[in-house]
């Protein structure tokens, strides 16, 4: 493998892994906050117990998120030093802010997890507020750096050097708002559905405890509030992309030829050789309406841009459809659940409904990962759009393939270790081993 491909694979691999943990690190604090808030408000202990039980997975996932985030910060330098040397003065600022937000998050998580016996219930609730705010802020800041790569602003170029640097303008670049809102909400949906899946599974196995019902309702409530907002912010994002990043939009929609009254193509396989989409479903004029709110508007296709400057629609269009499709896969069982919940005034436990929720549960994460792939593949071949190609940002150091292999082995080992621990049955012997006299030895 050449250096660029190795570097891209490693970065993609690390991000794909980190995104899962980071997402839960954003979503779970909101759940904790709502549960602790409800517990304080209603005096119902069950809500508090709910939150305390989420804490153990939260601790583990946060820790992995912190570590995989460190890996990423190192990889920025190990793999993309030329990109960083150029853009560090601009995207360093949001990363610094993210650093502080993450710091705050780590502190309040530690306080919340380990402080139960040292802090009042109200103080624990305040900790979850700080946790929710700082995790959302860290998401928004880190997304700003990605948004800048899509729509770089806040500087002028003179002889390939940065002049007139305005970091705060770079921070608030034109893609930031929609990417940050869309991305943060996506984390709430992904976490909510993943957790709903866990409780749907528990209910399917027959443990119809109040605890499981309450947890399922709460997780689905947070996900269901965020889900319609995903469609709204997704539409906002698409319109902004249509105005600012036309090649990306063309690749997303597998739109090869510039046309007025452009159709929306759902599914299918884009074939760049023939410039056609095989087996796709066409809805006339819908792309023009969605992109420009006008059925006869002209939408630039991939042919409107010089060859070698546009992304490959085969990598973008399928993931775009997967992202949008996932939303509807989640929307249907969620709507069914709330309909029955409203009709019966009790948590519905129909087997088919629970099965549907279980099946839909990974799609929040799938949608989020797909959306990330759309924005990344959709920017190719640029690392900074229209300014620096990926091949110009990669390291000149050789042997990146070796680093790639090292990290693949590490991640496989860690995943194997995690699975082994998660799947290991709890035996009575373990329990006696975990307490020694009056003190616990179990972390």
């Amino acid at each position: 493998m050449d250096n660029i491909l190795s570097a891209r694979t490693l970065m993609g691999f690390s991000l794909c892994f980190h995104i899962i943990y980071a997402t839960i690190g954003i979503g779970l604090p909101l759940m904790l906050m709502v549960a602790e808030g409800l517990s304080l408000r209603t005096g119902d202990e069950l809500f508090h117990q709910l939150a305390r039980r989420w804490m153990r997975p939260a601790g583990v996932l946060f820790a992995i998120g912190a570590v995989s985030g460190t890996v990423l910060s190192f990889e920025l330098g190990l793999l993309w030093p030329r990109f960083m040397a150029f853009s560090g003065p601009l995207i360093g600022l949001p990363f610094s802010m993210e650093g502080f937000a993450f710091f705050t998050e780590a502190i309040f998580l530690a306080l919340y997890i380990y402080g139960e016996q040292r802090l009042s219930r109200r103080m624990l609730f305040y900790c979850t507020i700080a946790l929710t705010l700082s995790s959302a802020a860290s998401a928004a800041f880190v997304i700003s750096a990605n948004a800048w790569m899509n729509t770089p602003t806040g500087f002028r170029l003179v002889n390939n050097a940065l002049v007139d640097v305005r970091p705060f303008q770079a921070l608030s670049n034109p893609s930031w708002a929609h990417e940050a809102v869309h991305g943060t909400l996506a984390a709430y949906v992904a976490t909510g559905f993943a957790m709903a899946g866990v409780y749907a599974f528990a209910l399917l196995r027959g443990s119809n405890s109040d605890y499981n019902k309450r947890a399922l309702t709460l997780a689905l409530a947070i996900a269901s509030v965020s889900l319609p907002l995903m469609l709204v912010t997704g539409d906002w994002a698409a319109m902004t992309v249509a105005a600012q990043q036309k090649p990306k939009l063309a690749a997303m929609e597998a739109h090869f030829v510039t046309a007025s009254g452009a159709p929306l193509i759902i599914g299918g396989w884009p074939d760049p050789a023939s410039g056609k989409v095989l087996y796709g479903i066409k809805i006339p004029k819908l792309l023009s309406i969605l992109a420009h709110r006008n059925p006869d508007a002209i939408v630039e296709g991939l042919d409107a841009f010089p060859p070698g400057t546009t992304p490959d629609p085969r990598l973008v269009h399928p993931f775009f459809d997967l992202m949008v499709g996932s939303t509807f896969i989640m929307l249907a069982p969620a709507a069914w659940f709330w309909w029955l919940r409203w009709r019966r005034r009790d948590v519905p436990l129909d087997t088919w409904l629970l099965c549907a929720l279980l099946l839909a549960s990974p799609f929040g994460m799938i949608a989020l990962e797909s959306g990330w792939l759309v924005t990344e593949f959709g920017r190719q071949p640029w690392i900074i759009r229209d300014l620096m190609r990926v091949s110009e940002g990669v390291t000149l150091q050789t042997g990146i393939g070796l680093i790639l292999i090292t990290f693949v082995v590490i991640y496989l080992l860690l995943t194997a270790g995690l699975l082994k621990l998660l799947l290991r049955p709890s035996t009575p012997a373990d329990r006696t081993e975990t307490t020694q006299g009056d003190r616990y030895v179990d972390l």
């Binding site: 570590v67 610094s96 590490i410």
Partner: protein
């Protein structure tokens, strides 16, 4: 003197010192988990694990702070460092990964250091590997061997292995092994406290010998660095670090643990300050000055405005954290975990 780039460099080294003083102690805990011995070996391990549990993640963030500050304020320096030093940095990352994993997996309960030798072993090895590799990477910047050709780093993959950096790596390890037991003396009592006191004295002695040894080695292997270290500014800090180190040893010997803890942390901070003074005015000794590596002034200005806001949020939060978990690390975990109760 008080230029933005100097202040930024000060911030990087301050972050490094915070990482050493807080995160370093966590690595030291890992080292002593591996070296725990005698009749109370198991208790030593458990105490170390419990002390580190609530704070390691927060402490780890100092490393991210250093990396982020470095690429924001010295983007060229960051690019050069990471191009020149992939091997030690990857080794450090591997250590960080496994150390984090060892801790994360313990969250799932049912395990203790004594019962799961593999997990404890991973934790110990990772805790040795990371400070060693980071120590070597940091001291490699002082050797003057990171060479630029046409604005880009041109160095072989193994230039960072030499007498100066090897001792530098061991100093990194020694700093960690030195802090952990001394911090533990305030969190334990009786025999166990005495064990940690003894470990602290050994490690202090080792750290003193190693840092002393590093000076003549630097004269041969990193001459420019050695010159600056022995010039006025560097020498003052060396003298301060040595006196602080001796004070810490005396306090520890005489069982003034709280003050010994403060003196030990001060010693480490002063050692790093001495290193920073000997690096000045370069980021990479003799090859890349702070001024040449720095980001444009507008970036540095906005970085410092963010820093000020960030710190006003951070400091009270950190104080609250350490204040809440002050004193002996009693079983902190909530009832639920302590009963070994199982979850869905």
């Amino acid at each position: 003197m008080w230029t933005f780039e100097n202040l930024a460099a000060g911030t990087v080294y301050l972050g490094l010192a915070m990482y050493a003083v807080f995160g370093g102690a966590d690595f030291g805990g890992g080292i002593w988990t591996g070296l725990a011995s005698g009749p109370r070996a198991r208790e030593q391990r458990d105490k170390l694990f419990h002390a580190i549990g609530p704070v390691w993640e927060t402490n780890h963030v100092w490393l991210i702070f250093v990396v982020v500050t470095l690429f924001t304020t010295f983007p060229k320096g960051f690019a050069a460092l990471f191009t020149a030093l992939p091997v030690p940095l990857v080794i450090a990352l591997i250590g960080i990964n496994f150390r984090g994993a060892a801790f994360a997996f313990r969250h799932f309960g049912r395990q203790t250091g004594g019962h799961v030798p593999f997990m404890a072993g991973t934790f110990a090895v990772a805790s040795i590997l990371t400070p060693l590799a980071l120590g070597m990477a940091v001291t490699a910047t002082a050797t003057g061997k990171i060479i630029f050709v046409k604005g880009w780093v041109q160095t072989g993959p193994w230039f960072w292995i030499g007498p100066f950096t090897l001792v530098g790596g061991v100093v990194g390890m020694a700093i960690c092994a030195y802090l952990a037991p001394i911090y533990m003396t305030v969190r334990t009592e009786g025999e166990l406290q005495n064990d940690f006191r003894r470990h602290g004295l050994y490690a202090g002695l080792a750290l003193g010998i190693l840092t002393t040894l590093e000076i003549p080695i630097a004269m041969v292997d990193a001459p420019l660095f050695a010159d600056r270290l022995l010039a006025l500014r560097g020498a003052v800090l060396v003298v301060l670090a040595v006196s602080s180190g001796i004070t810490a040893m005396v306090l520890l010997w005489r069982c003034h643990f709280l003050w010994a803890q403060i003196a030990a942390a001060t010693t480490v901070a002063l050692t790093i300050a001495g290193f920073a003074a000997a690096m000045y005015p370069d980021l990479l000794v003799g090859q890349l000055s702070l001024a040449a590596a720095a980001a444009p002034p507008a970036t540095l200005r906005s970085f410092f405005s963010v820093l000020v806001i960030g710190i006003t949020i951070l400091i009270p939060s950190l104080l609250f954290l350490y204040w809440t978990f002050r004193g002996e690390p009693n079983p902190e975990l909530p009832q639920l975990w302590r009963n070994g109760e199982d979850h869905e």
